[in-house]
């Protein structure tokens, strides 16, 4: 720490007070670390017994060390490094989610701008949105008959509802004031769309996208278990079938971390595009 001229003039008490926020932020950082430590310790303790069906953290690490250190391993068929497994899953998500976002935003704006269509379609969307992702899989397989596009369709159909609903609400929630300004100035339609409607609805759209990406990630893991091929979902299923419980645990950690990163990524883009300050 550098001591400035002002700093030297401060009494020790003042310095302590000034340093306090630092201590607090340190505490904030330390707390989750301690919690994870305690969690790992408990886990280790609970799995110490020889009858334990699940491995402890130490055992997980030692058994999967090969996978951890070499994520970029290239094998044949589904025998790939974890990076490639996750990349394959992400690719599907990217495709399905992008489609869902594009279609969802357009549909959302259309129904948000028209009260009649909204009231007609909203109940339908509310029902469809509650259908669990996996329930879509059989019907999509039956319709498409190919596993890869079927999986992408499941992502699409899972992610689209929150995008549509939030976008529609966003359009409806455009403050009357902004609409009045647009009406008084008689803004042209494209100008209204880009200068008023889109910026005003963006925060809502990104809320929808954030929920959508979370659901997509949930859906892909489950879908891949059923359709097979390279992907983190099938990797878990495969590990289960080969009774490699440690690998399942490792894969779960990765699934969790990637899900978190996806959520943060969309949130970050949202903040870049649509600053929340008003």
């Amino acid at each position: 720490m550098t001591t400035t001229l002002e700093g030297r003039r401060q009494s020790p008490v003042q310095q302590l007070v000034a340093a306090l926020p630092d201590a607090k932020s340190l505490q904030k950082l330390a707390a989750p670390v301690v919690a994870i430590g305690v969690f790992l310790l408990l886990w280790q303790l609970l799995t110490l017994s020889p009858d334990a069906t699940l491995p402890g953290p130490a055992k997980v690490v030692s058994e999967t060390w090969g996978l951890i250190v070499d994520p970029f391993f290239r094998g044949s068929g589904t025998n790939q490094g974890l990076f490639w497994q996750i990349a394959a899953s992400l690719q599907r998500v990217a495709l399905g989610f992008s489609l869902a976002a594009a279609v969802g935003i357009v549909v959302g704006i259309l129904i948000g701008a028209n009260a009649l269509i909204y009231s007609a379609l909203d109940p339908l969307f509310q029902v469809l949105r509650t259908i669990p992702p996996l329930a879509w899989l059989p019907i999509s397989l039956a319709a498409i008959q190919q596993s890869e596009p079927a999986a992408i369709f499941v992502i699409f159909i899972t992610a689209i509802w929150p995008v549509i609903i939030n976008t529609a609400v966003g359009v409806q929630q455009i403050p009357q004031d902004y609409n009045n300004v647009a009406r008084v100035l008689q803004l042209s339609r494209p100008k209204y769309f880009f200068k008023v409607l889109l910026p005003a609805a963006l925060p809502y759209i990104f809320t929808g996208l954030k929920i959508g990406i979370g659901l997509s990630w949930l859906a892909i893991v489950a879908a891949e278990m059923l359709i097979g091929g390279v992907g983190i979902g099938f990797f878990i299923w495969d590990a289960y079938n080969s009774a490699k419980v440690s690998e399942i645990v490792l894969a779960l950690v990765y699934v969790g971390l990637v899900g978190l990163l996806l959520d943060k990524l969309v949130g970050f883009i949202g903040r870049l595009v649509a600053p929340t300050e008003r």
Partner: protein
């Protein structure tokens, strides 16, 4: 200047979610001239913003039409730009971009460079050049509102609409912005319509102030012309001699709207009991010593004794409030100045003849003329002294306060001045003020004197602000002061109630006239809910009988008369004298059908019946009126009397058609 904006018979009806309708505006009619600044003022929910939105085209009227420069308004457009209450800047655009959005949309024929120049100059106009590239979130409320004003002005709207533009700002910022807006409007000659609830803001900025009544069915209650010269400064406006009377006019209007709302919410249908058509009465009065009979009737149970079990005494701030209450039907009956029933009947209120009848005189005397302290120092003790003083200072403005054109004070003061050779309309100014504001106005020198009922003369003397120069004894001893007045249709709908009211008040008057009760009545009157005055200022028929210790000759106090021979009986001769005086000063025409008018107003029959039922002797003797100056008044030849008067306004004679009475229909 020609009519620019026309608002014709606008109604606005909102349908309520639970079914049914809410009529927000009813029959609103308004025209605005080019370059005029008009304010809309009223309580929350009076529909002033709705009216503004209709003019803006953001809202459609249910019926009626709005036209700007002859073109009907069918929807919003940049020719009627709005400055919204909450600025309504787009938060994702900078100051420059927000203004450019408007400019680019409107000036499509101008080059990019010209448009940029317009934006730049308007940012400069509101002094925001340093903040031009900031987003609204980085600006204070005042700055945001300046951006909104710049945006509105940048497109040179034909009509600038402002919806409570400064409502959300702190006082200092508001003051600055008001002056900036005023300067900009004067420079650009913009026609403006502003919604506000700030009376001072309205007075500062407006050429006319449109006051809306409370909803539902809001309409324009009154339009106030603001005569201040432009360009204005705040200081000049505030110090203008008319500023406070205009301000109190607005406050009166707004206060009255609130009171009407209260009275409306309290108003129930008539409750009939004991053979009376209505026992729940609202009786209006002014806090004066002369209101004693009403207070006594209420407090000593005379109302109850005659079956009127739910009488509420409504204390009014001014006679004008009594007039509005009676005309609007919010009060059943009222203590009125003796001339008010005639004044109503002859169309004094809004030129609409409204027959009002009186069957009881509640008090006589109790009035005096007070002059300010400076006249005492100058030795002005008579009309002759005053006339000499007025001639000496002919270039100054001399103002006397009176409470209502129909009050005896007006007529007595005018008569007193005229007797001394002073023309009350040419030699001095007479201004109407509520009684409670007289002393304050005399103190600060807004008026030179006043004629008013007690306790205000005694109080002015006791506080050393003025002195009594004449009392009733010097003008017309024993003149009718206050009477009981009710609308004719009311008296015909509730005849038994009217009779019971007269009986209760006759007994109360008798009670007031007893010397032994004086102390008790004084205590009742001085309570906070009535006069709220110092008992020392309330003189009843006892004790100290001089008006004030100031002055050359200590004048004898003109004690209130509440009962006695011929005191309570309404007198046609007296009403006729009042009629001649009103005509003398041009307040009303002298009605060719004066016999009918007097008969209609002065209902001796009801008084006689009430007295007989109370077992009282009625004194029917009709003496001639004796005024202190000795002028005879011949009740058979009022026109001859009027002709003989030297000092008078233009007297005109006309047939006054009275509305048909209920009984005749």
């Amino acid at each position: 200047m020609s009519v620019f904006l026309e608002v014709e018979q606008i109604d606005k009806v909102f349908s309520l979610p639970g079914g049914g309708n809410y009529i927000a505006l009813k029959g609103v009619e308004l025209t605005v001239r080019q370059g005029e600044f008009v304010s809309l003022i009223g309580h929350s929910g009076c529909g002033k913003s709705t009216l503004l939105n209709i003019v803006a085209g953001l809202d459609r009227p249910s019926t009626g039409r709005v036209a700007l420069a002859g073109r009907p308004v069918l929807g919003p457009g940049p020719d009627r730009m709005v400055v919204f209450q909450n600025y309504s800047l787009l938060p994702w655009l900078t100051v420059r971009e927000n203004i450019a959005l408007a400019v680019d949309e409107v000036y499509t024929d101008k080059s990019k460079k010209e448009r940029e120049e317009i934006v730049r100059s308007h940012i400069q106009l509101v002094g925001l050049t340093p903040a031009a590239d900031k987003k609204p979130a980085q600006l204070s409320g005042g700055m945001k509102q300046r951006v909104a004003i710049a945006r509105a002005l940048s497109i040179r709207p034909e009509l600038l609409l402002l919806d409570e533009p400064f409502g959300a700002l702190d006082a200092l910022t508001r003051g600055n912005l008001q002056e900036q807006l005023m300067r900009i409007c004067e420079e650009t000659g913009a026609t403006c319509m502003m919604v506000t609830h700030d009376v001072d803001e309205a007075l500062l900025l407006s050429d006319r102030i449109v006051m809306l009544t409370n909803g539902p069915q809001s309409r324009i209650g009154q339009i106030l012309e603001v005569p201040f010269e432009r360009p204005r400064t705040r200081l000049e406006v505030v110090n203008h001699p008319n500023y406070y009377s205009l301000r109190s006019e607005m406050l009166y209007f707004l206060g009255q709207q609130k009171r009407i709302k209260q009275l409306r919410s309290r108003q129930k249908g008539p409750i009939a009991r004991h053979g009376l058509e209505k026992v729940n009465l609202e009786v209006g009065y002014l806090p004066l010593t002369a209101c004693a009979p009403l207070v006594v009737a209420k407090e000593k149970g005379f109302f109850n004794r005659h079956g009127l079990e739910e009488v509420t005494l409504v204390r009014e701030p001014s006679w004008r409030a009594v007039v509005d209450g009676v005309a609007g039907g919010y009060i059943d009956a009222a203590q009125m100045p003796a001339g008010m029933p005639l004044w109503f009947t002859l169309g004094g209120h809004e030129d609409k003849p409204l027959p009002v009848v009186t069957s009881l005189t509640l008090s006589r005397n109790g009035n005096a003329v007070t002059l300010g302290k400076k006249f005492l120092d100058l030795g002005v003790f008579s009309q002759a002294d005053l006339k000499a003083y007025l001639q000496r200072t002919a270039r100054d403005r001399h103002t006397f306060g009176l409470v209502h054109p129909a009050s005896m004070h007006n007529l007595l003061l005018r008569h007193w001045l005229a007797t001394g050779g002073i023309h009350p309309d040419r030699d001095v100014d007479l201004t109407t003020l509520p009684p409670a504001q007289m002393i304050a106005n005399l103190k600060v020198g807004n008026i030179d004197g006043f004629c008013i009922g007690e306790p205000w003369n005694i109080r002015a003397a006791a506080e050393g602000i003025g002195f009594t120069v004449a009392t009733d004894l010097e003008i017309w001893p024993g003149h009718p002061g206050k009477v009981l007045g009710v609308r004719e249709d009311w008296a015909q709908t509730y005849p038994n109630t009217h009779l019971a009211l007269i009986k209760a008040l006759i007994q109360a008057c008798l009670y007031c006239a007893e010397e032994a009760n004086a102390e008790e009545i004084r205590g009742l009157l001085c309570r906070d809910e009535y006069l709220g005055a110092d008992p020392a200022y309330v003189q009843l028929g006892e004790g100290e009988s001089n008006t004030c210790a100031l002055g050359k000759d200590r004048l004898q106090y003109a004690h209130h008369l509440f009962a006695g021979a011929g005191v309570n009986r309404p007198s046609r001769t007296e009403q006729l004298w009042i009629l001649t005086q009103m005509a003398r000063w041009g307040d009303v025409p002298f009605p060719r059908n004066w016999v009918e008018v007097i008969e209609r107003v002065c209902r001796v029959q009801a008084f006689s019946t009430a007295s007989r039922e109370l077992g009282l002797e009625v004194d029917y003797r009709r003496g001639p009126i004796r005024l202190a100056d000795g002028t005879p008044f011949d009740a058979d030849d009022p026109l001859g009397y009027l002709k003989a008067l030297e000092i008078k306004s233009d007297v005109y004679i006309a047939e006054v058609p009275l509305p048909a009475s209920l009984a005749a229909r």
